[in-house]
Amino acid sequence: MPITHSFDYQKPGSLREALALLARKSAVALAGGTDLIGHLKEGLVSPELLVDLKGLKELKKIEHRGGALHIGALVTFAEVIDSKVIGKKLPVLAEIARKVASVGIRNRATLVGNLCSAVPCLDTGPILVAMDALVLVKGKRGSRKIPAEKWFIAPRKTARKPGELVTGISIPLPRGKAAACYLKLGRYRGEDLAQASVFVSIEQSSRGAKARNFRVAFGSVGPVPCRARKIEKALAAGGALIDMVALKKLVPAEISPITDIRASKEYRLHMCQVMLERALAAADGRLNGTGPAYGASLL
């Protein structure tokens, strides 16, 4: 299926130049292109100019600085998987990246592109909202840092304004000892869009050996990724003991799943409960050094 719409293509060498081009009417940024080129074929977008960002070296970095992980807009999922820094500081991010599509897509598709797509089933949503990540945005008139929870507005709708460019994200890292787990439900073991997903992170608190902080978020069970604050609270209050029966009862209040071609509302709800339990167990095990390796199949 050919792209019938014709457009111009520019590959700027500097961010300044890129922002100037993107300020033009009907200009669209191109990074990995795995979403954008599909949309062009389907006629969902009809830009006059594609601004290829791949000449901007400063957007290719993965850095650990100031207690946070900075990931540039051009970092691909394959690079996330291969990154030593991520493997050391936030290995669950690599676990997530490995669940995204397949090798040939991950070699091209970027993490930032994923969050710009803002589809309800996106894999990077739950971790970003749970970890209070910031989306770094630059426009001609300056920069903004948008908290992930404010970034996702509705399916395929983000807080980005026309002409603005997402240059990267910043994920604050846990201060203490921490472990996490991402579980993605698909229709089979092969590549699939999430029917539902759960992200759990457990952090040893400075308030004492037994005190722990929990971060929990769900994906694909609402218009945007949802942070499960009631569950987090209940977990933190429970200390070392987790009352799973009580916890599972909180799940329906946290999510708003629908029935669509990928799963029914009932199955999504049921599996969010099952996955919450399994993700908590895995993260807990990882924290104690007894859990499954990151990336292991737990469903």
């Binding site: 299926m1 050919p2 792209i3 019938t4 439900l185 229709r187 089979y188 073991r189 092969g190 590549e191 699939d192 869009l193 071609i261 990928r262 799963a263 029914s264 009932e266 199955y267 049921h270 599996m271 099952v274 469903l299």
Partner: protein
């Protein structure tokens, strides 16, 4: 039979190097130069509607547009077994995606753009989307003119209804059989529609040149049948069969989807409107899903009468097939399934109604298994339940009732040689039947499932195959046939058959995909019949060549004819150990006599095979009397699964399939059929299915939401067991086997789930979701 040099050996595939280096050319790889035109099809957005007006003036205005074609140009009905469809919709559209018009342009992009400018006005009608609605007394008729449609004599349409064909089978006395039974068990099972998902989509290029010769290059399982249907459909243009040529390059997967004629008619017909220019029609993945043949859905209602000891006394099967908007091919699936819907069992009293129902969904048609996968899901699930209710082991129940050589078939003929009992025993042993395993994971349950299967080629009684075989100067040879290599390894097996007869190694034999101008007739590559049918033709051609060779050597050199034989590419003599004449010395140039003259000359073998014993003539009320099926291939299959009680997810440590293929011609290729077929079958039961909305629109015409297996979704172990009870009329004893390997997949899974969890699921697919929710509800 021992002593074969090439038969029964895992000969290396003759098409391997071409396919692994990119040298193999598929239809989309062919070059036609700058004159090539591209057609984009305007499709119906409605499942049922009247076409009021088509306005394409704006499309014609676009630079690069050559022509816009609508149904007006081709007001003819055609079809394979029933003439019920059109090149383009005429006054009505009957499914979402039906072709309404075409824009022909210089580039694909221009064609696509201009197609968006064609405006079609419809009067939308209420569609008929399921068999229940279609069978209601006051149902809207999808084909009001059904009564006038031309069809093959073995179809029985009911005019003024939506029933396109009604196959009745009455063997023995079913009511009497139910009276004799100690128990009667009944149930209903449903199977949705499925897509073939060849990785190559359909494509065809037509060229109607200025001498009025029509050539079509197509991704095809049926070059000669396509030629014939093109000739029939376009007869008003005055084309003769000799003027039409179909060239079939490498095919990227078939599974039945590229049999008959579906979108290829568009390339043929459109070519006649732009004489002198080749025109290409290439289906997108979406079109591949909604406008080729689909596997039909079925609702199966069955009753089984059994004695306390497990003997089956009677079976009633009522199969209601959702055949879609056009049934020119799909009705024959209904027919074939109807004749065999008892499964491979000895049942004295059988009552089958197999009903082909028009609906406003895409046309049904052939799919690997041809109706058997569909009815076996219900039948083999139900027999398991029956055995359980009687307290009999399901394998024992099957062994007790399994059909044997010489048993009477549903239509009165005798069962061919059958190693079914041997298959049952070997498969049961391999899966460790009767031994329960307990999962190491307390959340998981382990279960085993067992099922039998059978299938006969569904073909007209006069479906024939032919072969030419030509020797070359160096003693190598080329075989010309028109059956298709669609992945199964057909070319390799044909080379092996000729090699065995002629003592020429397969690597010196070239067999390629056909051109109907050059290659002799073949009906179609469907029905698991070509190893058998075309194999017979090739064997006959090789024998024909061998006889010519021995004749000429005998007459030219005075060797006693009966002493001569072929060995190691030479003519040898049993009476003269020193005699050895290499084939290359004379198979083209002949044998020089003492006076310098020559005898013999180019050796060309010819072979033809027609199943002269087959007949489709039978009593329409009972199906008794004819011999519609040439043979049945039978087998057994078993699986072990591990299922997670919380998630419903299944893993498969082991699956076993045992089949009586008559004679294994190439073990590796046969194993390939088992592995590939089983994985394809497992996907239909575990996650694939086509979903339609309330307006008849297909919701998942892509691999994003129609999931086919990936490398991560294979069973841990697939064991193939081959049993050989030779087919007397098959080449070296072989019979068909290509489809059979996917047929038992659904019931073995369903039965294993029941074994593991005690839950019987009666509708496919049996997704993790369905299992998990069923456990929750139970």
């Amino acid at each position: 039979m021992s002593g074969h040099k090439f038969i029964g050996k895992s000969v290396v595939r003759v098409d391997g190097k071409a396919k692994l280096t990119g040298a193999a050319a598929f239809v989309d790889d062919l070059e036609f130069g700058p004159g090539l035109l591209h057609a984009v099809i305007i499709e119906s957005p409605h499942a049922y509607a009247k076409i009021r007006k088509i306005d394409f003036a704006k499309a014609l205005d676009v630079e690069g547009v050559v022509k816009v074609v609508t149904g007006k140009e081709f007001p003819y009905r055609f079809g394979l077994y029933m003439h019920d469809r059109y090149v383009f919709a005429q006054d009505h559209v009957r499914f979402v995606g039906e072709q309404v018009a075409a824009v022909i342009a210089r580039t694909p992009a221009v064609a696509k753009k201009a197609a968006g400018l064609v405006k079609v006005e419809y009067e939308v009608l209420k569609p008929v989307l399921d068999v229940e609605t279609a069978l209601k007394e006051d149902a809207r008729l999808i084909h009001p003119e059904l009564g006038n449609y031309h069809h093959v004599p073995w179809f029985f349409p009911k005019k003024d209804t939506n029933i396109a064909h009604f196959r009745k089978v009455r063997k023995g006395d079913a009511e009497q059989g139910f009276r004799e039974a100690d128990h009667v068990f009944e149930d209903t099972y449903t199977v949705p529609r499925y897509a073939h998902c060849s990785i190559e989509t359909h494509g065809a290029i037509g060229l109607f040149d200025h001498s009025r010769r029509l050539t079509v290059w197509a991704a095809s399982q049926s070059p000669h049948t396509q030629r014939h249907l093109f000739a029939e459909a376009l007869a008003p243009l005055g084309l003769k069969h000799k003027d039409i040529r179909v060239i079939a390059p490498s095919v990227g997967g078939g599974f039945g989807g590229k049999a008959g004629v579906s979108m290829e008619i568009l390339a043929a017909a459109l070519a006649t409107t732009v004489q002198g220019s080749p025109v290409k029609v290439h289906w997108t993945r979406e079109q591949e899903f909604y406008n080729t043949y689909q596997r039909q859905g079925v609702v199966a209602k069955m009753r089984v009468g059994v004695k306390n000891d497990g003997t089956i006394t009677a079976l009633e099967q009522k199969l209601y097939w959702d055949a879609g908007a056009y049934v020119e091919y799909g009705a024959n699936v209904v027919n074939a399934a109807g004749l065999s819907a008892s499964g491979p069992y000895r049942i004295p009293n059988v009552h089958i109604d197999s009903v082909c129902v028009y609906t406003n969904l895409p046309p049904g048609g052939p799919y690997r298994g041809f109706g058997y996968s569909e009815f076996l899901f219900g039948l083999e699930s139900h027999f398991n339940e029956v055995a359980k209710k009687l307290g009999i082991d399901p394998v024992e129940f099957r062994r007790k009732n399994a059909i044997c050589t010489g048993d009477v078939l549903n239509y009165g003929g005798k069962m061919n040689p059958s190693g079914l009992l041997e298959c049952i025993d070997k498969v049961a042993r391999e899966i460790d039947w009767g031994k329960k395993r307990v999962s190491a994971d307390p959340r998981k349950a382990i279960g085993k499932g067992f099922a039998l299967f059978w299938k006969a080629p569904a073909m007209p009684p006069n479906a024939s195959s032919t072969a030419f075989l030509k020797f070359n100067e160096d003693g190598s040879l080329n075989i010309l046939v028109s059956a298709m290599e669609i992945g199964q390894g057909f070319l390799t097996v044909m080379a092996q058959i000729a090699a065995e007869v002629l003592s020429v190694p397969p690597e010196k034999i070239r067999v390629e995909t056909p051109d109907t101008d050059r290659n002799p007739y073949e009906w179609q590559t469907v029905a698991s019949h070509i190893t058998w049918g075309t194999g017979n033709a090739v064997k006959k051609a090789a024998i024909d060549a061998r006889e010519q060779i021995l004749d000429i050597v005998s007459s030219a050199l005075g060797q006693p004819r009966e002493s001569l034989y072929l060995d190691d590419e030479q003519v040898r003599s049993r009476s003269d150990a020193g005699f050895a004449l290499p084939l290359r010395d004379f198979v083209i140039n002949g044998i020089m006599m003492k006076d310098g003259t020559f005898r013999g000359g180019p050796i060309i073998g010819r072979g033809m095979f027609m199943p002269e014993f087959a007949s489709a003539l039978s009593d329409p009320e009972t199906s008794q009397g004819g011999k519609p099926n040439v043979h049945y291939t039978v087998g057994a299959s078993a699986i072990e699964i591990e299922v997670d009680r919380e998630t419903g997810k299944i893993t498969i440590p082991k699956v076993v399939l045992g089949v009586d293929c008559g004679k294994v011609l190439n073990p590796d290729l046969l194993k390939g059929q088992v592995t590939g077929g089983m994985v394809q079958g497992l996907a239909t039961v575990l996650y694939e299915d086509m979903r339609f909305d309330e307006k008849g629109r297909l919701l998942n015409p892509n691999f994003t939401d129609y999931k086919i297996p990936t490398a991560l979704d294979t069973p841990e172990e697939i064991v193939s067991i081959f049993v050989e009870h030779e087919q007397p009329d098959g080449p070296f004893g072989a019979r068909g086997v290509g489809e059979h390997t996917m047929i038992p997949a659904a019931p073995i899974i369903a039965n294993a789930i029941e074994d593991a969890l005690g839950i019987r699921i009666r509708s496919m697919p049996i997704t993790a979701e369905k299992i998990a929710l069923a456990i929750k509800d139970s």
